[in-house]
């Protein structure tokens, strides 16, 4: 064994300094060769990258270096009929954030807050938005910044990834709340809108689209074409310099028929009430004013609805988010009487035909009351209109029937949906026997006719329809409301009223204001212009619940007024509806002042200034102070706002729709007409019903 081992060891090659030296030379040559090989490999690789892939990498370096950013196009202006802007653009500095690019949004907002002067509410709104928004959607942090704030953010950019300060344009509504419902507002596109239209402009910071009203309806026209800017940027996104810029193309302007100053005047004149004013041009049908108050300030909605704002607006029982001109439906009350009278005339009734009004009318075994319980004495058509005598209408409606009244209501625009560029309009009800049978499966009853002739019961209309009705009765022409200014004068077809019927109605309605009528205080303070009108008071709850004059706001009567002026050559027609105003007395002073403003702006403003002094400022000022007091009162405890502005409006819409479509109780008796507040010879306060005549009984038990 030992021998073999030794032999084995000896068999190994002899290692000596000489063999090691040789081996060193061999091996160093091998290593050198390997190193040279690697050197050649590197040279080859480098040549490959810089020669064969040069094109590709040059492009990539370029796309690294150059950032193509879209410049949001300036929106087209929205102008009033005289070319004054209702919505314009204001150059400003703004800061947006893109949550996707922010490693630590909380920290960055904490850095931004003191620079931009963000309130704690605003900071919490921002956190809500960052949480719920998709990351790629830019979120507006602040706009309308001054240069110092803008610069302060810009220098901190390296520490604020995802923060985008820029100069741009923001939408500006000079008259704020006055045009809120009409014009709508703009806001950043939401995820759904981006998914539908994968236009990169939609997620460009600072870009806003129309969210409501005209802004939304004419989005494509107003939008314009985005510009583009090639900027050299660092890896962290800091701009180094501009390389090339293509200017944006501003969206086309849109001119409305609205008279801006009138719109603003009417909105402000509504004051602390909740209501709407519509004025239309009697020659063209142009809508000069569609004011709905209370409203919101579209300027403050462009960055979304904050929690305070939302809370303030949604808790208001006057529903500032609803456009009452188009989506407020009210029983028209006595404002339908001129229309009903026209129906009688057209059916052959002589205007001199009279009826005695003893304060009520017995039909069958029931008594229908006049609002004037003491009676009007002998009443002809003119007196029936200017004194708003209910018995006259009960009497002749029984004779002539609903089949005369309902078609006339429809001819005058009631229950009609107009071809207007608006998102939605509620168009109410003109009841007739067929309608009742279809809806309730019940035959038409005499008391249904009675209710309809005084604009109660099932009859519902929006203020725009009332204005159209006033305009059609005043002119005898089938006026169609228009919102977009069109220089061509339309030739509205005649209503084909016979004889002097239009004049009869004009005269009777003038007497409402200028004669012995129910609205003597509505007389214009202008000598040579006489306004014609018709008051209306629509009951909201039965007299057994509330008198309708005071008490709980929700239980007060609606005040309505339709008007036109001058009465014998109508130039303007309109309607005022004041929700729960406690009667027509809330409505016609507004109509008077608005009409005064149309003919003599200085005189109109005088009246308004005096009133606004009492109310504590203009609508905008009051909205701002209300906001401030709301913040002070509620402060920390305000819940978060819904994610999207659209949701807020959709909710308001749905609520009012539900309200309208709530199964209306079957009318089982006559509505006792609420008293007109002012009667020249009937100023007595209403006496309580002598007999328990139930109104709008919801129980379904038949009244005696």
């Amino acid at each position: 064994m030992g021998l073999r081992r030794r032999r084995a060891r000896r068999a190994r090659p002899i290692v000596s300094p000489a063999t090691l030296g040789a081996s060193f030379e061999r091996r160093s040559f091998v290593i050198g060769a390997v190193q040279g090989g690697i050197g050649l490999l590197l040279a080859g690789r480098m040549a490959y990258l810089s020669i064969f892939e040069n094109e590709k990498y040059r492009t990539e370096a370029e796309s690294n270096r150059v950032n193509l950013s879209l410049i949001p196009p300036r929106r087209g202006w929205i102008l009033d009929r005289n070319g004054a802007p209702l919505a314009s653009n204001k150059a400003d500095f703004r800061v947006d954030i893109i949550p996707d690019r922010m490693p630590d949004p909380k920290r960055e907002i904490a850095t931004l807050a003191p620079i931009l002067g963000l309130t704690p509410e605003k900071v919490r709104d921002l956190h809500d938005k960052i949480e719920s928004a998709r990351g790629f959607q830019p979120i507006e942090v602040a706009s309308g910044l001054n240069y110092d704030q803008f610069a302060a953010v810009s220098v901190r950019l390296p520490d604020l990834p995802g923060v985008v300060p820029q100069r741009g344009f923001s939408r500006f509504y000079p008259t704020g709340p006055s045009v809120g419902h009409l014009i709508g507002f703009v806001g950043p596109a939401n995820a759904e809108e981006y998914e539908k239209d994968r236009n990169p402009i939609l997620i460009t910071p600072g870009y806003k689209i129309g969210k409501d009203g005209v802004e939304k309806q004419f989005e494509q026209r107003l939008r314009g074409i985005p510009g583009a800017r090639r900027v050299e940027v660092t890896a962290s996104g800091r701009m180094v310099r501009d390389l090339a810029t293509r200017e944006d193309v501003q969206g086309k302007p849109l001119q409305l028929t609205i008279d801006g100053p009138l719109q603003d005047y009417a909105a402000r004149r509504i004051g602390t009430e909740s209501g709407s004013v519509v004025v239309m041009d009697c020659r063209t049908g142009d809508l000069l004013c569609m004011a709905s108050m209370p409203s919101f300030d579209p300027n403050s909605f462009s960055d979304g609805i904050g929690r305070v704002e939302y809370s303030m607006l949604s808790q208001d029982e006057r529903v500032p988010l609803r456009n009452k001109v188009l989506k407020g439906l009210y029983p028209p009350g006595s404002t339908v009487k001129p229309m009903v009278a026209m129906a009688f005339l057209e059916a052959g009734l002589s205007p001199t035909a009279t009826v005695g009004c003893p304060g009520g009318l017995r039909v069958g075994n029931r008594v229908f009351h006049c609002w004037q319980r003491r009676g009007h004495g002998t009443v002809d058509m003119a007196k029936a209109i200017y004194q708003s005598c209910d018995v006259y209408f009960y009497h002749f409606a029984q004779q002539l029937g609903m089949d005369v009244i309902a078609p006339m209501a429809k001819r005058c625009g009631m229950g009609e949906e107009y071809p207007l560029p608006v998102l939605s309009q509620f168009y109410g009800t003109v009841p007739d026997p067929a309608w009742k049978m279809k809806k309730y499966g019940q035959p038409w009853q005499p008391y249904d006719t009675v209710n309809a002739t005084i604009g109660q019961g099932y009859m519902l209309a929006n203020p725009l329809q009332l204005a159209v009705m006033a305009g059609r009765l005043a002119t005898g022409r089938k006026l169609l409301p228009r919102m977009i200014l069109d220089p061509s004068l339309p030739q509205p077809p005649s209503m084909d009223f016979h004889g002097n019927h239009v004049e009869v109605i004009q005269k009777a309605m003038s007497d409402v204001v200028n004669g012995p009528g129910t609205a003597g205080r509505a007389k214009l303070p202008i000598d040579d212009v006489l306004m014609a009108g018709k008051t209306g008071t629509a009951q909201v709850v039965g007299l057994n619940i509330s008198s309708g004059k005071g008490g709980i706001w929700k239980h007060r009567d609606h005040g309505l007024f339709i008007f036109f002026a001058p009465f014998d050559n109508p130039r303007y027609a309109g309607a005022v509806v004041i929700e729960h105003g406690g009667g027509s007395g809330a409505a016609y002073p507004i109509a008077r002042d608005v009409t005064t403003f149309l003919f003599d702006p200085a005189k109109g403003m005088e009246a308004l200034n005096a009133l606004e002094k009492q109310w504590g400022g203009t609508a905008q000022q009051r909205l701002e102070s209300r906001y401030a007091s709301f913040v002070a009162a509620a402060g920390e405890n305000i819940g978060r706002a819904p994610r999207r502005v659209e949701d807020v409006f959709a909710r308001v819409d749905a609520e009012s729709r539900a309200l309208q479509s709530k199964p209306q109780p079957l009318e089982t008796g006559a509505v006792a007409p609420p008293p007109e507040p002012i009667g020249t010879n009937a100023s007595a306060s209403p006496t309580p019903s002598p007999s328990p005549t139930p109104v709008r009984s919801t129980t379904g038990t038949a009244a005696q």
Binding site: R12, V15, S16, P17, T19, L20, G21, S23, F24, E25, R27, S28, I31, G32, Q35, G36, I38, G39, L41, L42, A43, R45, M46, A47, L49, S50, I51, E53, N54, K56, Y57, R58, E60, A61, E62, N64, R65, E232, V233, T234, A235, S236, V240
Partner: protein, 371 residues
């Protein structure tokens, strides 16, 4: 030689020094550009460091062989102790630490360990009787000499430096004439251990670097970002480059670490393929000179020492260039003589100084032999 040039200067190995100085100057230009044209930011300290370490290398070159042999083991031991101290400091400080702040300079012992391992192994194999070379007695101590610092550096954790130490040691062992079958066995063992070490030994970020090296486009904004941006910089430079100061990749911060690990990409973007060939050419000249020094050496110690030093420099160059060109995973290894940074400059100048020293030994021996 003519007497116009003073003898001490004419004696210097200009075949290596001239291209080296050119490379350092190019490096300074690139660093100047990487600092957006600011000379004082990187370039000035780069040149000052080079001057200081070149002086140091010239002084080193004067050392006698006996002194060098004498300090081989104690020097190695001191650096191992320093590594342990660094490790302990890191442990106490609650985090990875790689340096000791001595007040005057910040010392990174793992850097010093690269030449120290080569020196210790050269001494060991130089002393080892040639008959013992094929026996376990040639392998085991060398394994310890390489293994201990590697383990300490790996624990820091610094994979790149550990591999550099291992590579330098392995090259010395290879040149020392150890049986080839051991290296074959080692390669097989490495092939087995590497995947295990990869999955169990490496940190997450190290594993990720390897994955992204294999497929950089999979994560262009994450860990593949470095490789992608570096390739863009090199590729977009083309043949002649974008021009001095015109590199958008480095100037706009797309290129990470444009003045240290990725300095070659910064250079290539502005100087193009021509600049790259120049850099490769300079390294070829330096390394070829290094090998010529090694082959001209008379004794085993000098040969192994110079071979190991060449290998150490080469390892830096090769790994760094492969990394920036997307041929190797991202490991934090700078490019010698171009990257901004004192430690790597010091290590590489120690290697060069050692080679200059051996060159002097050789020429002295040659003269003596002639005389």
């Amino acid at each position: 030689m003519s007497s116009i040039i003073p003898a001490p200067i004419a004696r210097q190995p200009w075949a290596m020094l001239a291209p080296l100085i050119a490379l350092v100057l190019l490096g300074a230009a690139v660093l100047d550009s990487a600092a957006a044209g600011n000379f004082t930011t990187f370039a000035m300290s780069h040149l000052i460091r080079f001057a200081v370490f070149l002086t140091m290398a010239s002084v080193m070159a004067l050392f006698a062989k006996d002194i060098v042999r004498m300090v081989a083991y104690p020097g190695y031991a001191v650096i191992v102790v320093l590594l342990i101290i660094v490790e302990a400091l890191g442990f106490v400080g609650g985090g990875a630490q790689r340096w000791i702040d001595l007040g005057i300079i910040v010392l990174q012992p793992s850097e010093l360990m690269k030449p120290a391992v080569v020196l210790a192994l050269a001494r060991f194999y130089g002393d080892l009787p040639s008959g013992m070379i094929p026996t376990w007695r040639s392998l085991f101590p060398a394994g310890v000499i390489i293994g201990v610092p590697m383990a300490l550096v790996l624990a820091q954790p610094d994979l790149g430096t550990a591999l550099a130490i291992g590579f330098g040691g392995a090259v010395v062992m290879f040149l020392a004439g150890l049986p080839l079958k051991w290296f074959a066995g080692g390669a097989v063992a490495a092939a087995v251990i590497a995947p295990l070490a990869f999955f169990f030994g490496l940190h997450d970020y190290q594993q990720r670097r390897v994955f992204t090296f294999l497929d950089p486009e999979s994560d262009p904004l994450g860990s593949g970002y470095h490789i992608t941006q570096s390739k863009i910089a090199i590729g977009s430079g083309g043949v002649t480059g974008k021009g001095f100061g015109e590199g958008s990749q480095s100037h706009l911060n797309y290129l990470p670490e444009p003045h240290t690990d990725f300095v070659f990409a910064t250079m290539a973007e502005e100087w193009g393929l021509l600049g790259g060939i120049f850099v490769l050419g300079v390294f070829f000249l330096i390394l070829r000179w290094g090998w010529s020094v090694a082959l001209a050496s008379q004794d085993r110690f000098s040969r192994l020492l110079s071979g190991g030093m060449v290998a150490t420099i080469f390892f830096y160059v090769a790994i760094n260039l492969m990394m920036v060109m997307g041929l190797a995973p991202v490991v934090g290894i700078p490019l010698p003589f171009m990257s901004h940074g004192g430690s790597s400059m010091m290590t590489n100048m120690i290697c060069l100084g050692t080679l200059m020293m051996i060159n002097r030994w050789n020429s002295k021996a040659g003269r003596r032999g002639l005389g």
